[in-house]
Amino acid sequence: MDVRSEVVAQFTRVAQDQDKRLAPLTDELSLLDSGLDSLCFAIVVARLETSLGVDPFSDDEDARFPVTFGDFIRFYEHAAK
């Protein structure tokens, strides 16, 4: 499965479900400016674990947190390899 399109789909769906206004998802977008709050991110991460079969946040205790949307995609692409 294409990681990027799946991540975009989950961001979009969670924003819709939680009634949040999602910023345009460019690679430079800071995650905290995306319009999603911590609860939204937690749901995105849980859904991606189901759809992609990985949770890079939990799998690596020493991983640095992604800061931008581009970091987030790479974080998952790296884990999904």
């Binding site: 939680q18 800071s30 905290l32 400016d33 609860l39 937690a42 849980a46 859904r47």
Partner: protein, 462 residues
């Protein structure tokens, strides 16, 4: 020599050293502790509130802090109503606390009837006054915690129980600037507020409406050296490009189970900082501090402090100390302590290879980013859906919020042609109309049956 417990917060602040040299910083206001001690945010009406039970329900933390300093020693009781608790609980809280007066910074709240005699609208800033406050009395401080029925429980503290060890500490050097991601109407935030007030340091308080980046920038600009928050607060901070705006010497985590990942990640972002995690609860007070950089805690910590007795009984942590709350308000509320004076924290622990690890809650309460969710409350809503026969709500581990709420649902009849996905969405939508966002299940699984135990109750543990 330990100082004696002062009569009021005002005298304690003065006793901690020159209050004009350190400041309390809010999102749009700041004042020296001296200005707070000798000023009024209540338009000089606090003396009229002498002996009253006051429901303090401001949105802004700075105003809450100023009002608290003004009211402690004068009011019979001050209820700290956190801004995230739904306003519809105001009348229940007012009734239970026998509140005479509501203090708020929201004109629309002040204009509504909440069962109090009258409402006082806070000023925007602190103005100097010099009222006769004598004699000062010991004020009850009421903290709200979540209850099973959805209504908050009201735990009774005083300045003495909340300040804990803070006033036996010698005043801190002026170089310390505290801050916290917590709201001071919650135990974790109040503890930091009092620590700063009573050890003579400056304090930068956050605001629920303030973006994380702005808070970090503000904390950085004021040179914050010591800062606390939940693991969820810290995960959110680490996701901010502004995380580097602060360079704390000391970081504290509490309020949720701390995992090794967040300890390592915070350590990597702030290599100069000493990172501790602590166990505390609104009812039991502060238990212990863990400073070895590892999740869980060494059994020796349980017997380290003679003033805080702790024991593990039936797999849960129990605490007896003079930092615990006295009781819950309200006739229908359960006992806060057992016959021996221990508070059962309800937090379950497991001993693995010589170290204790927190595993969750005995009552099944789910901690979603610091918000406590009672599964029964969510089940009650799901079960009202016309197509649901029964449901079981449980926690799913989350690396972002510690846990998420998920639900297993048994339908009255097999899914129709609309398929399970449409129904799952419909159920979530149904829950969103009834529940706060953190209580809405993040995933709903349609299952054929749920296990029922011999007692006739749902089996909540595998």
């Amino acid at each position: 020599m330990p100082r004696n417990n002062p009569a009021s917060l005002r005298s304690a602040i003065v006793a901690a050293g020159d209050p004009s040299s350190r400041i309390l910083v809010g999102v749009d206001a700041m004042a020296t502790w001296g200005e707070l001690v000798h000023g009024s945010i209540l338009e000089n009406r606090s003396v009229d509130l002498r002996g009253n039970s006051v429901l303090l329900a401001t949105i802004d933390q700075f105003r809450a802090a100023a009002a608290l300093i003004e009211l402690d020693g004068l009011a019979r009781r001050v209820v700290l109503f956190p801004p995230d608790v739904p306003r519809e609980h105001l009348p229940y809280v007012a009734r239970t606390a026998e509140a005479d007066v509501l203090v708020t910074d929201q004109p629309e709240i002040a204009s509504m009837q909440h069962g109090v005699r009258h409402a006082v609208l806070c000023g925007r800033s602190v103005v100097p006054v010099n009222p006769d406050r004598s004699p000062e009395i010991e004020t009850e401080w009421i903290l709200l915690t979540s209850g099973t029925t959805g209504l908050p429980k009201l735990a009774v503290h005083t300045l003495a129980t909340l300040a804990g060890s803070a006033w036996h500490k010698s005043p801190a050097s002026a170089a310390i600037v505290w801050s916290t991601f917590y709201d001071m109407r919650r135990y974790g935030g109040l503890h930091i507020f009092l620590h700063a007030a009573l050890t003579g340091t400056s304090l930068v308080v956050s605001s629920a409406q303030e973006p994380v980046a702005d808070f970090l920038a503000r904390a950085g600009a004021h040179g914050v050296t010591h800062i606390s928050g939940t693991p969820s607060h810290w995960r959110r901070a680490l996701m901010s490009p502004w995380a580097g705006r602060i360079a704390p010497e000391y970081i504290r985590m509490s309020g949720e189970i701390v995992d090794q990942a967040i300890l390592n990640q915070v350590g990597a972002q702030y290599p100069q900082a000493r990172v501790e995690h602590t166990f505390a609860s609104t009812e039991a007070g502060v238990g212990f501090y863990v400073s070895d950089g590892l999740m869980g805690f060494a059994p020796e910590l349980l017997s380290q402090n003679p003033l805080v007795e702790m024991k593990i009984e039936n797999g849960t942590l129990k605490i007896r100390s003079n930092r615990a709350a006295y009781r819950y308000l309200g006739a229908e509320n359960p006992k806060l302590k057992d016959a021996d004076g221990f508070v059962d924290t309800g937090d379950t622990v497991e001993l693995r290879e010589g170290r204790y690890y927190f595993t969750g809650r005995r009552d099944g309460v789910i901690n979603v980013g610091g918000f406590k969710v009672h599964p029964e409350e969510v089940e009650a809503v799901i079960n009202r859906h016309p197509r649901v026969a029964m449901s079981l709500v449980k926690a799913k581990k989350s690396p972002i919020t510690g846990a998420l709420v998920v639900a297993d649902v048994v339908l009255k009849a097999p899914p129709r042609e609309d398929g399970p996905t449409a129904l799952e969405r419909d159920l979530m939508q149904f829950c969103r109309g009834e529940l706060a966002p953190h209580m809405v299940p993040a995933a709903i699984n349609i299952v054929p049956t749920l296990p029922i135990g011999e007692s006739g109750k749902l089996v909540r543990r595998a």
